[in-house]
Symmetry: D2
Subunit: 372 residues, 4 copies
């Protein structure tokens, strides 16, 4: 098992996703968190670093300084996790890549298309690797779904449906809701539901089917007075090879917590999966009884088993799927071997292009936009 | 309880929906089936009529003749059920309405917009009533959903999602599949999935929310070689008052039998319902635990109770919902009082306009089409 | 299709099960209700008969008189439905059987073991047939389950679990609750939950597995102050051949409406079924993905298809299952051929013996009682 | 947050529960695993320790030696995890407690009642603490259920139902199945399903209700030829205060993976929970719509929130619940304060007494056995 040294930028007090990355990094024992820039305020940064057991001299308040200092240490970090608001992902990632330090970056990759294109180049010219945490790809049964599609179990793909419904922004959030605040600011987020969760749905659809979106028609809307970003996005997709698809991402769909669902329909069969109960994958073949495939069961495929930790019926959840991405990043860094399962800068660029195209389509009455 | 005399046109040997109408008419004892034109072949018509216990002299092979003869009898039928292929609905309905005989007609109301407009006029000038069997409106919890929306339990409606997924046309049907044969012929059906099931989804969305569609953008597709009608339809809707909606109707979504679902999201709460388990209605208010409202329970509303036959936990199904439309038609005919729950020619016209607009939009790259 | 003449005893105004029997008798058009003794009060009996469209001269207030009069008519009833409180089932059934009129009797067959034994003899010596409406046996997927067990799909049966949970008697019922009133009176009901619903669970377990209970240990309890009958019953069963079983019947299990479930575990596989969603049967074979078998689907067996009315995904419910028993009774009477699916006096006796044994066991600290 | 040093005895190559304990110890960063006795074979012990990054000189092959050596080190372990077969739990725990090292022990606490009683005394006289990992008590919604019962949300408890169904021992296990091997040996396990999973069900029922079992009647059986321990156990329980209960534990119920369920019925309401989908708790109050309470939602109680890591809809699973017990043990050790949530030697003794009483009852035809 890998034992790597990890740094983190962002994710201080009160943040949600920073804590998730730390638990994910810890679960399999692949990473030790030894350095961090948890705040641009030095006192707050130090206080939080101390809480995490990080030495004072490896707590930074400036990510450029951190990249330089860690690169100079003989025991410097092997990788950095970036868990800041979206508009900082690009500059921070480039700072560490410039010092050949690998980057594990939250999604969407950047807030703008220009940042994304720049980062792709930066990743190419670095000895460090770039990993993007579309964490839902880490679920064992999502891996199985991908393998089943690739193996032809569904026949030719006709329809892909990926919906991601939440309700936490159904009303104007409280003033002190840090999670909401930067997301509601287009300059920091680059977009609303479309970037925050729409990219997950888009990524999952492409990850499982192996198909690329060739054109799309989108309607983004905002449902709360004064809101500057979209909170509901509906996109019709055309995939290479003729399959059609649909993404619905909403943060105002009351009664949905984090209801990401994927359905893939082919000429021979279908697969359906629901993130909130992720240990089950439904497989239906035309004319036969639908099968309930469960994680770690006799019906689990090698692709699922490879990322499974505990037996069937012992539910694995969100953190385990996230930890799988960390374990795979650790393996890739250790072995200098980027496995097929790993998402990188290209997938990040695809996601930002998706957001950009949706925004352009929506501004023009859902006109069809081609994607490269 | 009403005791009315019923005739039927169509629905002979091997038909599906004819038998459904007969059971629905029988369940509550409101109608006696006493006449029928079950086939244009006299021998087949008579044989089937005899099987149903219908007197020979009230078995017809021509619907015009039947309308005339029954109108002339002192014990003539009070109503006729029309369960033929779509393109015949209009002419047959008009024939009976012309003799002031009430009509209970399967959906879609007609195969063309011209037929629909003509039928609306015919219904207006007849002393008979016209009833359209969008049978899913007969489910108790759909009635409750409608009442809850009307009562403001959801606040202002933001999003309406009605999906209707089947898989029975995933491949080319067998030559002798009567159900499929006329549906696959545009001249008889007027359209594919959009007319057969899309109209149900559209009707249900409007019935429950009380909202009217003002414009739509549709993509119809056909997924089986040689098929002349659509088998998959995806429509984005704009409702009066600003709500947005979505209908997905598919007959090639493997693993779905008759999976009609409705979700309505408002500013305060949401409702979700699944036809295949129709005795449950999910109600979520923002910030509280979702509630599972069940038919005939303490949480059932008067609107639901009014159309409920048996206690909670004793599942009612498709036939009971269908029978409710028959009972309401019987009451309306008997009392000369068309209750609010009854669907008539106007709703039929709305449905045919919906189909027509979807077909025009789809032919023009999903351009937005306004509805009157 | 049969067209038989039906009478009814009991089931007047405000009764639940009488209306169920009438709808069940009507659904498939096999029976016309032409006579009845709906009340011992002549005026009430007549008023209710009139409401049902029954001729005044065939409305009775005394079942003995009715049996005699109907037997004497050339157009007398072919069968009578008995839907009174339990203690009257036996005497009424015997009265009609004595005139060779077939009997369709609600469960439990009688209130006492002596009545049951007497009725078995009466049934043997009559030209009429005796049918017992353990209606859950009419569900298509229960028929399929039985066939699968008989075909060996589960291997040797190890464990049978039949639970029947309700909550409507969690508190003392209202004074005017007719359903509750006679059930709470041991003289009329013969027992509480054990007779009312425990017999259904016992019958279903035996019906599906084809196994006979050889001994049992029961604990009956009463959970509401002043209640004279049991409202919760827990029984451990031993079946012939070594299988073990368990029945839990409760009317005080809050949150359960009519939650009858059956699970059968064998050496090779298992079946699970839930009455409140009866169109699904779960089948699991060791080491493979569980299959969701649905009514009328490609995975439905001939035994299920034979009692199915409408296509997959169009839910059939409680009334349809009940109607199947009526249709089968009609066929049996018409053809003088009692099919294997039909429950008669022997099954009724088994049920009353089960109740009697449970009551004896419970009075003696759950001691094991052998059954004949 | 605590940063404690942890040792482990057992849990070497190929073991299941050892890995679970290590992930659970790691997730929240409370423990560093620094010492271990992973095998009685020194070479194997060292090899596995090295894989885990444990220094060679802190890898032991004898637990007595380990206890002594670690107690003597200035940086010795604060706690030891015991993940061996059951019959070794007692001796190992006593060895560490004798050196005032805290013990985190898998369940059941011991293989025999004598061992359990001895261990209770050892725990009392040690400065170390004893923690028992009935891990299902760590689920947030189990904590909520317990709080709701304590707060009277259900009224007086009438019925408690805890079932734990698996199928992995439906046939004789493979020769090389380490998990199965020692469990099938009564000398090592002390019992079959009753100890392995029955104790979990018993513990959960008591943990949530706060009630103590006063007497029980049990039937244990063995369903596979040659098997020396029970694989199916059915127990009727009597609780203090009059509530009745039932435990069914089976390892031959095909189609069940790790299907632990709990239902608690009171005079006012009920709670139902299913381990395989642990982020949902059903709450029903008499006469109102059942509520679906989800982890981390607005309906989650403080008791649930206290042990919740991530937002609603992001499923937490088995490892997170397990990690909660580790975090609570770390807090208890650090603060010398045993919180109410922590299970210790007394609960361990209760569990072993439960097993012992079940075995005695079963040997005597399910006779009722009183518990102290």
């Amino acid at each position: 098992m890998a034992h790597l040294k990890l740094g983190m930028v962002g994710g201080g007090q009160g943040a949600f996703i920073g804590g998730v990355h730390r638990m994910a990094a810890r679960l399999d024992g692949c990473f030790d968190l030894v350095a961090g820039a948890f705040s641009s305020d030095p006192a707050r940064a130090h206080a939080f670093a101390a809480e995490l057991g990080i030495a004072d001299y490896r707590s930074y308040s400036d990510y450029n300084e951190m990249a330089k200092a860690e690169a100079a240490r003989s025991d410097g970090i092997d990788a950095v996790s970036i868990v800041t608001p979206n508009h900082l992902h690009g500059p921070i990632a480039e700072a560490f890549l410039a010092h050949d330090i690998s980057v594990i970056c939250d999604k969407p990759m950047t807030a703008t298309l220009a940042q994304a294109e720049s980062l792709v180049e930066a990743a190419k010219s670095s000895k460090g690797h770039f990993f993007l945490t579309h964490n839902y790809t880490g679920y064992p049964l999502i891996r199985q779904a991908r393998q089943m599609v690739a193996d032809g179990a569904l026949g030719d793909i006709r329809i892909v449906e990926a919906n991601y419904l939440q309700d936490w922004l159904s009303e104007a959030p409280a003033e002190d809701n840090k999670q909401a605040k930067w997301r509601m600011d287009p300059a920091q987020s680059g977009g609303g539901a479309i970037g925050d969760i729409g990219t997950h749905a888009h990524n999952l659809a492409c990850f499982v089917t192996g198909l690329h979106v060739t054109s799309l028609s989108a309607t983004l809307s905002s449902n709360v007075a004064g809101r500057l970003v979209d909170d509901d996005a509906r996109i019709t997709l055309q995939f290479e090879g003729g399959a059609r698809g649909h993404v619905w991402a909403s943060q105002v769909a009351i009664g949905n917590e984090n209801n990401l669902t994927l359905a893939v329909y082919g000429t021979k069969g279908s697969l359906r999966w629901v993130q909130e109960n992720p240990n089950v994958l439904w497989f239906a073949e035309l004319g036969t009884a639908p099968q309930m495939i469960t994680r770690a069961s006799g019906a689990a495929s090698p692709a699922a088993t490879a990322v499974t930790r505990i037996p069937a019926g012992h539910p694995e959840g969100y953190l385990e799927a996230f930890a799988t991405l960390y374990r795979e990043a650790a393996d890739a860094i250790t072995n200098q071997n980027l496995s097929g399962a790993t998402l990188g800068a290209q997938e990040g660029l695809d996601g930002v292009r998706f957001v950009d195209a949706c925004q352009r389509s929506s501004r023009d009455k859902a006109t069809w936009i081609d994607l490269p």
